[in-house]
Amino acid sequence: MPRFSPGRRIVLTAPYLWILAFFLAPMALILKISLSHPVEARPPYEPLFSLAEGPALWLEKLQALSLETYRALIDDPLYLDSYLSSLWLAAISTLLTLLVAYPFALAMARAPRHLRPLLVGLAIAPFWTSFLIRVYAWIMLLKDEGLINHALMALHLIDAPLEIYATSTAVVIGMVYSYLPFMLLPLYAALERQDPALREAAADLGASPADIFWRITLPLSARGAVAGSLMVFIPAVGEFVIPDVLGGPQTLMIGRTLWSEFFTNRDWPMASAVAILLLALLILPLVVVERLRAEGEG
């Protein structure tokens, strides 16, 4: 970068080095660890490359790279089940979030203009409060002896408590609740931007309100729906807190499997391999998000 002045160079170098040292290098490192053998030591994996050893040894080490961990990962149904169940729960949660958020965002976008900033503020305010606390609050509502069961039984709608807490259903409820703001914002932005004149023109030409919705409002908000769905789906697949706090022991999700592989089994190569495959799974949605963002960047 020869044409940059010293000042500019500092401005670019500081964040660049930071990202290099604390993001790119660590990501390369877990790829490396996932290819090494677990050993009983600290760190509990066989170091692969070390600058001190010199290039002669590197070749030898390169041959020692092993896919052993990945083979074990594929052979053990626990991991495959975790991946599939994560994708499934994330997909259901995304769909439900979209269904809950759409009418909500539409109502916000069609509210009187002066109220809209307040409504948007109220809709995103929970995002600023603690995620863990908001998830925890649902335990009180969903438990067998919790508020929802108590209310339903008092109203004689059910005889025995619904067993929601510590199941996958509770996890889905928790995800819809926690990620709702991520869906609301892009949807609201897409709906609010629409020119009311389009709907008026369609109505003048004899379109029914249902026609107008299906043929104008919905197609024009499709980009917002796609963006919002990705904003929900991607973090939901790797979610740890929600399945751990609201799910039961049988609720398998990959974030939770990675966590226990690392903290309980102390198997670093396996935890790294799980992380790498999780990224591989998310690469397609991530690329779509990047593309949307790049289009936004222009």
Binding site: P15, I19, F23, M108, A123, L132, R134, L278, V289
Partner: protein
């Protein structure tokens, strides 16, 4: 959508968003330990918090880590945003742009694991310092995105005019651009602060003994089940965030008026 139906949808939506939070706050004043029994109004759970040394220590650690990491994140994010907005094309700009945005979408468990592996191989002892580095790495991405948008929306011609009148590039930036992106700087700092204060996953991977954060402390108690003390500390946290949000909303309104 009719006005009545619209109001109903909005009402239902906000009940869903705020209902669980309201239950939590109400329960923190419940003398009974049971969620379904109202044992009378009581502040005893708040009083018991004062005696809880571990929670107090964890709160301090969290506040210190949030203050330091969000300062770092805002500065790094500002540099990154300036480089992306003003430096035009440079080699590896695409890599830099992608790497700065990637942690936004990356599962937290993956980033946490990657950071920890790096700290171990760099020979950094896990503790408060690694916690701050971890949080700064996560939150600088959020800061960069917000500041980049703010820089894009202010006209570079103003800076150029200042330089034509004899200002150095640094003077032009500090005197012309910086004041106009001040609100974005403030919100980048606040968002980084809030994210750091809230984070459980990155903290669990990157911190060490003696630097347990408040979310880690809450999490370890949540695993033991619902407890009125968690309701009390959670309500306090919500109150702090609520007051901060209300104040910033008021400040924005005053500025506009």
């Amino acid at each position: 959508m009719g006005a009545l139906f619209r109001s109903l949808v909005l009402f239902a939506g906000f009940v869903f968003l705020y209902g669980p939070i309201a239950v939590l706050v109400v329960m923190s004043f419940n003398a009974s330990r049971l969620v379904t029994v109202w044992g009378g109004f009581s502040t005893k759970w708040y009083a018991s918090l004062l005696e809880d040394q571990a929670t107090r220590h964890a709160t301090l650690i969290s506040l210190e880590a949030a203050a330091l990491s969000s300062t770092l994140a805002t500065l790094l994010g500002l540099c990154a945003a300036v480089a992306l907005a003003r430096f035009g094309a440079f080699r590896t700009r695409t890599l830099f742009f992608g790497a700065v945005h990637a942690p936004l979408a990356l599962p937290e468990v993956v980033l946490g694991l990657a950071l920890l592996s790096a700290f171990v191989s760099f020979g950094l002892e896990r503790g408060f310092v690694t916690l701050v580095i971890g949080h700064a790495t996560l939150t600088m991405c959020f800061a960069t995105v917000g500041l980049l948008a703010a820089l894009r929306s202010c006209d570079p011609a103003q800076e150029e005019a200042a330089m034509d009148l004899g200002a150095t590039p640094l003077q032009a930036f500090v005197l012309v651009t910086l004041p106009s992106i001040a609100p974005a700087l403030a919100s980048a700092f606040l968002l980084s602060f809030a994210l750091s204060l809230d984070d459980l996953v990155i903290a669990s991977f990157t911190t060490g003994p003696g630097a347990t954060t408040l979310p880690m402390r809450i999490y370890s108690q949540v695993r033991l089940g619902v407890s009125p003390q968690i309701n009390a500390i959670s309500s306090l946290l919500l109150a702090v965030v609520g007051v901060a949000l209300a104040l910033s909303a008021l400040a924005m309104r005053r500025k506009r008026a």
